[in-house]
């Protein structure tokens, strides 16, 4: 190679590199990894969070929607009016909204979606969200009137759930494999077992997103997740499954780690009807026997916020009640003695697969053993957990993260799996549901938190953290997870 040729070759390389650089500036595609693959893509007929992660606000939108900070803002409904008595909601829909098949989204679609969710043969996993709806009427193409049987302060919040998105009768038959919504992204391709691709929808009613295409990849194994991130096969890992690896990402200049909060109250659920847990002193003893920080450090490598009641600490209505169940083994032993269990007792501890439960369970079992409670660990799969613990109520203790947002209402359901039957809780929730004034609601929520904390219904452990890992340069990721979602409309690459 002559010098001349070499120079040409080198400058050619430089041009190539600069071309590549401009391309990199305009990067408009992203690969996001998640641990679980959605079973199908209909958010209105399954509980799987992975469905919402892919489709919520990307493919499907509801009348209202959650923002990353947990607030509820207008979605397909531009505005609404609420009648004096709080039972009639009149939604004004946005103009010019089309589904991805080019059909127009109008009041008929809203009526269809809500009626479908409430119907007798509905497969909606959160049917209770729609329970209070008496009727849905089409006033004109852009106005819908929803009448409730009684006032419900949570109604706008409920309509923001992924289970309440607006679907169209034209495309409903194939929604599971070919979802057609109104969102900023259309469904592209699904290589089952591997990935789902979404593409930007050019006729979207709102602002065009920065991303052109987004690929969701499904990597369940924590070691594989680490390797995929390190090899830069993926740009973002939505909720990284191995907290022990995070310091390594933090130390690596190629990556950013986003530690936020989820709606997951991780609790030591207690069978309130099963002796000896029907004795409040025993439940109180449990609460004092647990060292929350040790569980967080041991099971979650320090990620997580201790809680003393069933409520998310990042919510403005949260009351810090951790002091109420402070770690105090002596007090716990004393309470057990008062209840007649000086020698302790034996019980079962059912642990579902997530590491917060399996690792946390080992630590809690050891802590309980210190005060004389011998908890036999039983590892179960999810399907088994649902069958025997949740439905069969055949358990003493179990560890589970309740990930539904604002789910304190479960304490007003005496048939719920922890079998807490309290008239006070039930009336309090009724009053809360009927209250729309924000200040009054906040106060009632506080009362409810205090009630279940002082009744020691469950052992409240910690708020599950959301641990995101991303390449440096990815912007607009949700730090917290007010609901399961990966909001692509906000994501972009830094220039």
């Amino acid at each position: 190679m002559t010098k001349q040729m070499f120079r040409t070759f080198v400058s050619g390389l430089a041009v190539g590199a600069s071309l590549f650089a401009t391309q990199a500036l305009a990067k408009s595609d992203i690969t996001i990894a998640m641990q679980l693959e959605p079973p199908h893509l209909d958010p209105t007929s399954a509980a799987a969070q992975a469905i919402d992660s892919v489709v919520y606000t990307n493919i499907f939108e509801g009348l209202t929607r959650f923002m990353g900070d947990g607030s509820v803002v207008p979605g397909l409904a531009e505005s609404w009016e609420i009648s004096e008595d709080g039972t009639v909601y009149t939604f004004k829909l946005r103009e010019g909204v089309t589904f991805h098949d080019a059909t127009v989204m109008d009041a008929e679609d809203v009526k269809f979606s809500l009626d479908r969710a409430m119907a007798e043969d509905s497969a909606n996993a959160q049917k209770a969200l729609f329970a209070g709806i008496e009727s849905v009427e089409v006033v004109d193409p852009l106005t819908v009137k929803v009448t409730l049987s009684e006032p419900n302060g949570n109604f706008l919040f409920n309509m923001a759930w992924g289970d309440a998105v607006i679907v169209a009768p034209e495309s409903i038959d194939n929604i599971k494999t070919n979802p057609v919504g109104t969102g900023a992204f259309t469904f592209g391709d699904w290589v089952q077992g591997d990935s789902i691709t979404l593409n930007r929808y050019p006729s979207y009613w709102g602002d065009q997103p920065a991303l052109e295409t987004a690929t969701f990849k499904f990597i369940s194994d924590p070691t594989a997740a680490f390797a995929a991130m390190m090899a830069e096969d993926v740009d973002v890992f939505d909720n990284f499954p191995a907290p022990e690896n995070l310091p390594q990402f933090e130390a690596d200049p190629r990556f950013q780690v986003l530690v936020g909060s989820t709606e997951g109250e991780t609790i030591l659920s207690t069978n309130n009807k099963k002796p000896p847990f029907d004795d409040i002193r025993v439940r109180q003893a449990l609460a004092h026997a647990i060292d929350r920080q040790a569980v967080i450090d041991g099971a979650m490598f320090g990620y997580g916020t201790p809680i003393g009641t069933h409520f998310a600490p990042h919510n403005p209505a949260y009351v810090d009640l951790t002091g109420n169940s402070a770690h105090d083994p002596e007090e716990a032993a004393k309470l057990l003695a008062d209840a007649g269990y000086e020698e302790g007792f034996e019980t079962t501890l059912h642990l579902p697969p997530p590491s917060y439960a399996r690792r946390g369970g080992e630590i809690i079992a050891a802590q309980l053993a210190d005060v004389g409670i011998k908890a036999e660990i039983i590892n179960v799969e999810w399907a088994q957990w649902l069958e025997s613990v949740f439905k069969g109520k055949d358990y003493g203790l179990t560890i589970i993260s309740h990930t539904e947002p604002m789910d304190i209402g479960i304490y007003a359901r005496p048939d719920y799996y922890f079998q807490y039957d309290s008239l006070d809780a039930q009336t309090l929730m009724e009053t809360l549901n009927a209250t729309t004034d924000p200040d009054e609601r906040k106060k009632l929520l506080g009362d409810m938190q205090r009630l279940i904390a002082t009744d020691y219904v469950n052992g409240y452990l910690f708020q599950l953290a959301k641990l995101g890992v991303a390449k440096v340069g990815v912007q607009g990721l949700w730090e917290n997870a007010p609901t399961a979602a990966i909001d692509l409309t906000q994501i972009s690459w830094a220039e």
Partner: protein, 315 residues
């Protein structure tokens, strides 16, 4: 030969029927309701009942068994509870990953094992033999997922020659497809190659002591000629058995490797389906794997007969 094949075919058929009953019974007995798994903790009783009816889970077990078997006979494996797509379609898609992976790994392991085994046998007790045997000992002792992780660490994270996992798909070209299967195939092949090489070596050593080998040398063949013409062929029977077993293992047993490399293969499908209580998928895939194993064994039996004429008369 025909009689022999027919007898094998009948035993194949009986095994399949027995397997179908056992699979169905075992999977149906396991606790866990597919409908409540799909609808989660807030599902209402009427919603669950509606979904069960939709999935056809409300019929009697015997009825469902016969529906399943009669469907399979005409190639209809039913519809997945969770994915709501035909199971046959899902299996076909996954097969395009698992089958090439198994064949790739088997080819690699044979390519490594045959020369290694023959080389070791020919140099029995010498340093070459000891080195090969030491290496195979290591290959057997180390689990394949550990190999997998080491390969990822070196070739994906450090050298960036391969991606850490995933499958690009055959529509992006055969080369791209093979490229993404290379690390998993190596991880699967090495432990298999180690076993195969040892079997090859010991089988060949047995043969080398036989009278006909001495005769072959006596009629003037060189050591090498005798080894290749008479030794290797006769040593193949146990080796074929192992290859048959290995193929079945590679097809069904790559669950862990598919997890480590997040490949959309059959193993991972079964894994997901089991935890989601997608019973129909589990039953059908397991049945298919049983079918594959039994068929491979049948073919191996036939291959014996091809290699060793004495077997044709017996059976």
């Amino acid at each position: 030969m025909l009689r022999y094949a027919l007898k094998r075919l009948i035993s194949l058929f009986i095994s399949l029927v027995v397997a179908s009953v056992v699979i169905f019974a075992v999977i149906e007995v396991a606790p866990g309701d597919p409908a409540s798994f799909m609808l989660g903790v807030n599902a209402q009783e009427d919603t669950l009942a509606a979904l069960r009816a939709e999935l056809g889970l409300d019929g009697s077990k015997i009825q469902r068994y016969f529906n399943w078997v009669s469907g399979m006979l005409v190639g209809d494996f039913g519809t997945s509870y969770t994915y709501r797509t035909p199971v046959s379609q899902m299996i076909a898609d996954r097969m395009w990953v698992s089958l090439p992976l198994a064949l790739y790994a088997l080819t690699l392991s044979t390519l490594i094992a045959f020369p290694a085994g023959i080389y070791a046998a020919a140099r029995r007790g010498k340093p070459g033999d000891l080195t090969v045997m030491g290496a195979t000992q290591l290959g057997i002792a180390v689990p394949n997922f550990w190999f997998a992780m080491m390969l990822v660490l070196i070739f994906a994270i450090k050298l960036r020659w391969f991606s850490a996992g995933g499958f690009a798909g055959w529509d992006k070209g055969v080369w791209t497809g093979l490229h993404s299967l290379t690390l998993p195939a190596i991880a699967l092949a090495l432990p298999q190659a180690a076993i195969l090489a040892r079997v090859m070596r010991s089988s060949l050593l047995d043969i080398l002591g036989e009278d006909f080998m001495r005769t072959a040398r006596a009629k003037g063949l060189s050591r090498r000629q005798a080894l290749w013409r008479h030794g290797v062929r006769n040593a193949l029977i146990p080796v074929l058995t192992i290859i048959g077993l290995q193929f079945s293992f590679l097809l069904a047993g790559s669950i862990i490797i598919e997890q480590v490399f997040y490949l959309p293969g059959l193993g991972r499908l079964v894994f997901q389906a089991i935890s989601a209580r997608d019973l129909i998928v589990v039953e059908s895939v397991v049945m298919l794997l049983v079918f594959a194993v039994i068929t491979v064994n049948f073919l191996v039996d036939l291959a014996y007969a091809g290699v060793d004429p004495r077997l044709r008369g017996r059976s």
